[in-house]
Symmetry: C2
Subunit: 411 residues, 2 copies
């Protein structure tokens, strides 16, 4: 890959090339932040008009049944299941990732009542660790949060471990945890595995059931393209459905929500993991993003994601040598999600300078430049141009123009 023309030729024969036209991408922008907020599917803008204007406006309360609103958490869950290697009845779309983590951590501790340890990655996404902290504080001192580095997770699992709670793809480096090996190690020691798929679903071909995962959560607004603050989802392997209970036992998790009976009776299956009334409009928008992913297929998406990652690293090595960038992501694509990150001492200013040029990546503390490569709508030429832009920013010391600021964006 030595010229931009080579990249254009790859784009011309890219089997996923036509999917770019399904998104509303602004002119003059190269968007390397689909791992933080996915782009807008044109179908979602269309669907919004229907669900708001017709279903809410005209159908009013009747739409709960007539437009299938009551079924949306399960219907959207089934769409996600296809992408993550789960069965339709094992996934439901609801709440936020944080809330779903709380439900599943509490549920896991209740399924293993004689154990008190939550093993997690010291580099786990902060909300995952904060929620585990909240569980510990409110369930009392019996819960211990055991932090281990990514390489030491398996050794940290012992007979006191109730659950191993990990983000599958590290939000900073893109490093992939070995889901099958860790889930097996947890199972061998009688513990459960809980996976946060926020940075992997829609970017990697996942196989939750094939990997022996017990529980999972994930975010709807990154590679799933569900929109800002889209509903999240959760997975419970079918073998746990009969025994699992969760503390946010709201009416939508009741076996008969409209009986208005005084006592809570958990619904059979995944429905018992629901709490409140489903966010109808947001679920309808999320469904549009999922439809496109299903159509493209995770194998083709992963293949293109790997190709874009290889190209990006090669171009940065060629174009930005000598500026002191340190690759934080695994060089081996088998161990890397759909992002490439570099540590760079002037990273904050460099990312701001890129954004000013229309090349949108993001910055993570303390010095991480993070570039997401969403294969549905990125071209090889975009990756070429982005590396070229970073080279110019570094050569021209454009990072000097951007003072370090407080504000961040949502990962």
């Amino acid at each position: 890959m030595t010229t931009r023309e080579d990249c254009a030729a790859l784009d011309a024969r890219d089997p996923l090339a036509n999917f770019r036209a399904r998104f509303a991408l602004p002119e003059g922008v190269i968007y390397l932040d689909g791992n933080s907020l996915g782009a807008l599917p044109l179908a979602a803008a269309e669907r919004a008009r229907d669900v708001i204007g017709e279903e809410w406006g005209d159908g009013l309360i009747r739409s709960w049944n007539e437009a299938g609103w009551m079924d949306l958490p399960f219907k959207v869950g089934a769409r996600i299941a296809v992408l993550i290697g789960a069965e339709a009845g094992e996934v439901v779309a609801c709440d936020s990732t944080s809330v779903n983590l709380f439900k599943l951590l509490a549920a896991a501790l209740a399924l293993r009542p004689k154990r008190h340890v939550v093993v997690t990655d010291s580099d786990n996404f902060p909300t995952d660790n904060y929620i585990a902290e909240g569980i510990g504080e409110f369930l009392g001192p019996r819960v211990e949060r055991r932090l281990a580095s990514a390489d030491e997770i398996i050794d940290a699992i012992d007979g006191d471990t109730a659950v191993v709670s990990l983000t599958h793809v590290d939000y900073r480096t893109g490093r992939i945890h070995d889901m099958a090996a860790i889930s097996a190690a947890a199972a061998a020691r009688g513990a459960l595995s809980l996976w946060d798929l926020s940075h992997s679903a829609g970017a990697l071909a996942l196989d939750l059931n094939g990997s022996g995962a017990d529980l999972a959560v994930g975010c709807g607004y990154k590679y799933l393209n569900g929109g800002p603050g889209a509903p999240a989802y959760l997975f419970v392997a079918e073998r746990h459905h009969a025994a699992i209970r969760q503390p946010l036992s709201g009416w939508m998790g009741h076996a008969a929500p409209f009986d208005f009976s005084p006592r809570f009776r958990p619904a059979p299956g995944i429905q018992r993991m629901l709490s409140g009334t489903p966010p109808v409009i947001a679920l309808a928008l999320l469904e549009c993003g999922l439809d496109i992913l299903s159509e493209a297929g995770m194998a083709a998406l992963r293949a293109k994601s790997v190709a874009l990652g290889e190209l990006f690293m090669a171009r940065i090595e060629a174009r930005c040598a000598g500026h002191g960038l340190e690759l934080l992501s695994p060089r081996d694509s088998a161990q890397r999600g759909s992002q490439v990150s570099y540590a760079y001492e002037n990273g904050y200013g460099a990312v701001q300078a890129l954004i000013a040029r229309g090349v949108i990546g993001d910055f993570r503390q303390p010095d991480v430049m993070r570039f997401g490569l969403a294969p549905l709508y990125l071209r090889h030429v975009d990756v070429w141009d982005a590396a070229e832009a970073l080279g110019e920013v570094l050569d021209g010391e454009e990072w000097r123009r951007h003072a370090y600021g407080e504000k961040g964006a949502v990962t």
Copy 2:
């Protein structure tokens, strides 16, 4: 009020008459279910185009800061605060009512660690009681849920009571609890008061701070017209801000979410009650409904709501006499929210027959016909016509054509 022409004359001089045109109400429908799902504000359909097409589609990740997405929970919370007698910094819009109830019940028990009793109304909305059940099950046997009838609440509060958790307006009967008296009784015995405002905010002039309320939650999709499954909200009186903690301690409740620090440090003020990423699109839509309510003003809305209720009861008494309808709602408007409910043995079929005629009310187990009177978009002639339609349904025994079914709608 003896003729339909009198009603039309009232509508002609109704100071709120023009607000009806701000909603997308379908032709041929009299909508008496705004207490379950509020109607669509035309501004919300417009706002959806902007927040989806421009802010998400064009702005992408930049909109978290540039379009003010990060501030939406507080901005929308401040709009709700105006309606419920709270200060702007005491209310935040987030999650569902059920999730917010969980957060506040857990927080209340933690604020009163030597007490173990949650006092609640045996007729409370089911999800309120289910969530209290979930809290008890997961926090262990120390939590006791004490059910009392509406008249016995104050007597049930004792020195073991941590929190009194009530729905302000009963979802079936529309009966109003005396917020000031019960909050004062709770405070006098060292307990906290937690109010579910789902059936009162937007329909009654509330004064949380004037009533001495400690905590509150409420729903966004009823009288607030936020759309199906709209975000809910919660209130914490400012005097509790320093001490309150809640277990769903996700990153949005952190003092510095983008520091990605390993330990949770609660934000000052109401922000610590947040958990996950805000549902941006849904919050933007909810804001549109709130704008209209603020413009109309709660005093004028309450006055019209009372007038519509009086008219409806008078017309039902005149038109439906002899059919065995029993008024479940308080006859005294000072004790009644913005709905009127009747017990009727053929209530299920009668409500279905009304819906078939385009008069949309709802049915609640076991025999309750419930009619919501949303003063923003209902006319006096609508109320007249609805009573007339019910009279015809009863006279013609139209309820016989509608078999009892399983499905309900969302309250």
